[in-house]
């Protein structure tokens, strides 16, 4: 008679000696990556199934195997029995997918499943902030992606802050690390400082390199993330599942950075436009009042003595000069960068040069000053305006230079 322990131990010995290195073929029906890095899967065929493990010690040495539910795989390993539970299982050292089509099929199946569940639905897409103050990035700290993102953001909008949540982006542990990084970003955002947008990605790579971004668990975690997300997986033709589930898809990490921040050159240009609009509006307001007042003065010309008219005219000039000076002072003290605008403003006041001894010459009846001597001829009558007063003269000679 055997004790339970003895039976299990004996059975284990028999199994291990009989099946020390065998290949099996089966369809993956269940599949989990444990945080420890071990891979647990169930392989099945039409009539039976078997539990499989691939331990981390094996997996860390190998490139990540693109495994997904539904894929047909070939596995090399041994059969053993886990004594404490009396459970019989297959310990794989190598797992190969059979045919590239299997992977594509699994991708399409997952895509369809998540689509039907509504994970890609536009109604779930969160809008990106207009200008993010704090940008979270989930990628490898040593990859090209973080360099590209940082370089684009520091060029376009250095006012933002970038925080990296490091994660490996390929290999067996990548999916768990990505999920842990999203967890960390979310907790950081809610407990320490809000994150306005989260970029998740990596540079380009082979289909196998991008596997982590096609994991169902990663997709569901991104979907559940309350921070707006941008997928930034560098690849040219294909999409990843992440692209569908993120709020916004960018084709590369650099493109993601361009998407989330405005360009300071554009903002500065719009600042100049706004400043010019303000200056123009103020100048117009002044000109309109000047016309209005002058019209009033003219109509009252017959009713009030000459002297009073002159006093009023002078006061009007003083008022306008005061306002202009204030505008120019505002321009000068506020911002030297807008000195070209104050230049524009100064030019728009034709009276100002007169204060410095310049004069304006008119042909009587015209309101446009003469700027070209050849438009005059000897014997023409001209009127010259000074800062104070005017003269009328006859042209003696025209000299064109």
């Amino acid at each position: 008679m055997y004790t339970v322990s003895e039976l299990n131990r004996t059975a284990k010995g028999l199994l291990e000696s009989e099946f020390s290195a065998v290949w099996i073929r089966g369809e993956v029906s269940e599949f989990t990556r444990a945080p420890s890095g071990h891979l647990y899967l169930t392989l099945k065929d039409d009539a039976a199934e078997i539990g499989c493990v691939r331990f981390r010690s094996h997996s860390s040495a190998l490139p990540q195997v693109p495994i997904a539910v539904g894929a047909i795989v070939l596995a090399l390993g041994r059969v053993t029995l886990y004594e404490p539970r009396g459970r019989y299982q297959f310990i794989a050292s190598v797992i190969h997918p059979v045919g590239a089509g299997a992977l594509q099929e699994a991708f399409e199946r997952l895509k369809r499943k998540l689509l039907e569940e509504g994970l890609f639905d536009p109604s779930h897409k969160k809008p990106l902030p207009v200008i993010p103050r704090h940008i979270g990035v989930i990628t490898s700290p040593t990859g090209a992606a973080i360099r590209d993102i940082v370089s684009v953001i520091s060029r376009r909008w250095p006012l933002s802050r970038v925080t990296l949540y490091p994660s490996s982006v390929q290999g067996e542990s990548a999916p768990q690390e990505l999920i842990a990084a999203i967890d960390a970003a979310e907790r950081f955002s809610s407990t320490v400082e809000p994150i306005d947008v989260l970029i998740v990605g990596r540079g380009g790579g082979s289909a196998e390199d991008l596997m982590a971004f096609n994991e169902e668990q990663v997709a569901r975690r991104i979907f559940a993330c309350p921070i707006p997300t941008v997928s930034a997986v560098g690849h040219e033709v294909d999409f990843t599942i992440l692209d569908f589930v993120a709020d916004v898809r960018a084709p590369t990490p650099s493109a993601a950075a361009e998407l989330v921040v405005p360009d300071q050159a554009e903002v500065l240009a719009s600042l100049s436009t706004l400043a010019a609009r303000m200056t123009r509006a103020c100048t117009h307001a002044l000109a309109a009042r000047r016309l209005h007042l002058q019209a009033n003065l003219r109509t009252s010309l017959f009713r009030i003595p000459q002297q009073k008219v002159q006093t009023l005219d002078q006061r009007l000039d003083q008022l306008i000069t005061t306002v202009m000076t204030r505008m120019q002072a505002a321009l000068r003290t506020r911002c030297d960068a807008f000195s070209h605008l104050s230049g524009v403003l100064r030019l728009s006041d034709p009276e100002r040069p007169l204060q410095h001894g310049f004069s304006l010459t008119f042909v009587p009846g015209s309101t446009v000053p003469v700027s070209d001597a050849s438009s005059l001829a000897a014997g023409d009558r001209i009127e010259t305006r000074f800062a104070r007063g005017r003269t009328r003269s006859l042209v003696e000679e025209v000299i064109t230079e």
Partner: protein, 71 residues
């Protein structure tokens, strides 16, 4: 006030200045305010240097921030 609010405010000031019957004193005050806003935004942008950090979660809920050096 953050930058997007400042930009929006500036936009609003320019629009108000363009209204026909705005009192002159009000116009000048708005003009000064607008220029001051524009200068602030410009200065902030010119002085800005991107701040980068790496976050590592220590135990649940506590974080350590390290300056992130790309070189």
């Amino acid at each position: 006030m953050n930058i997007d609010e400042s930009l929006e405010k500036l936009q609003d000031i320019a629009t108000r200045l363009e209204q026909k019957d705005i009192p002159l004193d009000r116009a000048i005050a708005l003009f000064e305010e607008g220029l001051s806003l524009a200068a602030t935004i410009k200065e902030a942008l010119e002085q800005a240097k991107l701040r980068m950090e790496t976050v590592v979660e220590k135990t649940k809920g506590t974080f350590s921030l390290d300056a992130f050096d790309l070189s």
